[in-house]
């Protein structure tokens, strides 16, 4: 009975990940997605890769030979995660610094030229969307109302995080603007000084030159 359930779950999970957005890449191509997230936010990426089958002119639902290399970099370009997964996978990571996280995927194919086409099903969930409430309800034995309130709490928390991130971004923006401002100011001052010095030196030099040549 239990085994049946597990197999059914797996089947339905497969069905689930099969629906949703997909796109095509060639075997050697690299595809990157950017997720801008606040700190301490969970991001879940579900993907499934299908290999183009020229014989049936379709995509093979399961392609065991294909592996996907997934790489996640944070806003400082540090690698958060870099691993090879199988043709179907679920990647979850939590951001430690706020900012743009780049998720790159490419197949581990060794083809020299862009080989076959790959179809990649992708689903990215961020923040409270990533929480599996069915699981939470089961684990913590919550009633329906409690679960709803729990969801609201998670949402509010997400909003707070986002607002903190907004403040951080505003600070960074202001910093850039102030830097531009001071650069304009100092450069224009420096420019004036350079111009005046140059003019002064030119006059003096020419004067002494003409005097030496006895032209004046």
């Amino acid at each position: 009975m239990r085994d049946q359930f597990i197999s059914l779950t797996l089947l339905l999970c497969a069905l689930h990940s099969a629906c949703g957005l997909y796109f095509h890449i060639s075997e050697t191509e690299r595809k990157c997605f950017i997720e801008e997230v606040p700190d301490e936010t969970t991001v879940i990426v579900n993907y499934k890769v299908e290999l183009y089958d020229p014989r049936s002119n379709g995509f093979m639902p399961s392609s065991p030979g294909i592996g996907m290399h997934v790489e996640v970099r944070d806003s400082d370009d540090k690698i958060v995660l870099s691993r090879v997964y199988s043709s179907q996978g679920r990647i979850s990571f939590t951001s430690h610094t706020p900012g743009e996280h780049v998720i790159c995927m490419y197949s581990n194919s060794t083809a020299w030229f862009s080989g076959a086409q790959l179809r990649v099903h992708l689903d990215i969930q961020v923040g409270e969307h990533a929480i599996d409430y069915a699981n939470v309800a089961q684990k913590e034995k919550l009633t329906e109302l409690q679960l709803r309130i729990r969801q609201l709490l998670d949402q509010v928390e997400q909003i707070t995080k986002e607002q903190n991130y907004q403040r951080y971004r505003e600070e960074r923006f202001r910093h850039t603007s102030e830097s531009t401002n001071s650069r304009v100011l100092w450069w224009s001052l420096a420019q004036t000084v350079v111009l005046v010095c140059m003019g002064f030196w030119q006059m003096r030099h020419l004067k002494s030159f003409f005097e030496a040549k006895k032209l004046v």
Binding site: F5, T9, L12, L15, H16, G20, L21, Y22, F23, K31, C32, F33, I34, E35, E36, L122, D123, I124, V126, D132, Y133, A134, N135, V136, A137, Q138, E144, L145, L147, R148, I149, Q151, L152, Q155, V156, Q158, I159, E162, Q163, Q166, R169, R172, F173, T176, S177, S179, T180, R183, V184, W187, S188, A190, Q191, V194, M198, G199, Q202, L206, F209, K213
Partner: protein, 211 residues
């Protein structure tokens, strides 16, 4: 028995096949990127995009239905949203084109939602009337969702502004360095040219002097 029921509910939630995906991707110059989504007949879909960086912040957008007919098309657009109801079951295509721009790559944010937002998983579809608490919690949930959407919108706007400001900062820096160099160079060259002028005349002058 209870766990079985719960599992069944989970399955139901999964079976509904509701997709809401938002992501940002990098559209290379001269390229076209397409995304596909299978939509069932009569389900509503919401599509939104925004270009947050690169060039004139414009991109060509096309939505096609399973028969390949264009249902929505915009050229050189920065931001728009489109809501539609699927007229047939099949694979809908959303394409972003950047063929008109030979140098600048674009950063594009996409939000593609199909179907209604799923009810809370683990909570079965209600036969009974919702209590007041439940209705208000649902209302709050909707409100918070709107807030999150607004925040995303602001974030993208801010990203646009910031990228422009950073560009400006960089440009001010480079241009003023170049200009300073140009001023000094021109000053030096001017003197050299003038000196050359008068030095060239010297032999003829000497000639006149001798006469």
């Amino acid at each position: 028995m209870n766990t079985q029921l719960n599992l069944a509910v989970v399955f139901l939630a999964l079976m509904q096949c509701i997709a809401a995906v938002e992501f940002t991707f990098d559209l290379a110059d001269n390229a076209e990127d397409c995304f596909y989504e299978e939509i069932k007949k009569n389900s509503s879909a919401y599509f939104e995009f925004q270009v947050s960086a690169g060039g004139q912040l414009d991109v060509d957008v096309t939505l096609k239905d399973p028969q390949g007919q264009v249902i929505y098309k915009l050229e050189k657009a920065t931001f728009d949203s489109h809501q539609f109801v699927a007229e047939s079951t099949g694979v809908y295509t959303a394409c972003f084109g950047n063929q008109f721009s030979a140098f600048s790559h674009k950063i594009v944010y996409v939000d593609f939602q199909v179907g209604e937002e799923p009810a809370l998983p683990g909570v079965d579809e209600h036969a009974t009337v919702l209590t007041q608490m439940e209705t208000s919690s649902q209302a709050i949930h909707k409100g918070l969702n709107d807030i999150l959407d607004a925040q995303t919108h602001h974030r993208l706007r801010e990203a646009q502004g910031r990228k422009r400001a950073e560009d400006l900062n960089q440009r001010v820096m480079v241009w003023s360095s170049l200009e300073t160099a140009a001023v000094i160079l021109i000053g030096l060259v001017q003197i050299m040219v003038l000196r050359n002028f008068f030095t060239d005349r010297k032999p003829s002058q000497a000639h006149y002097g001798r006469l």
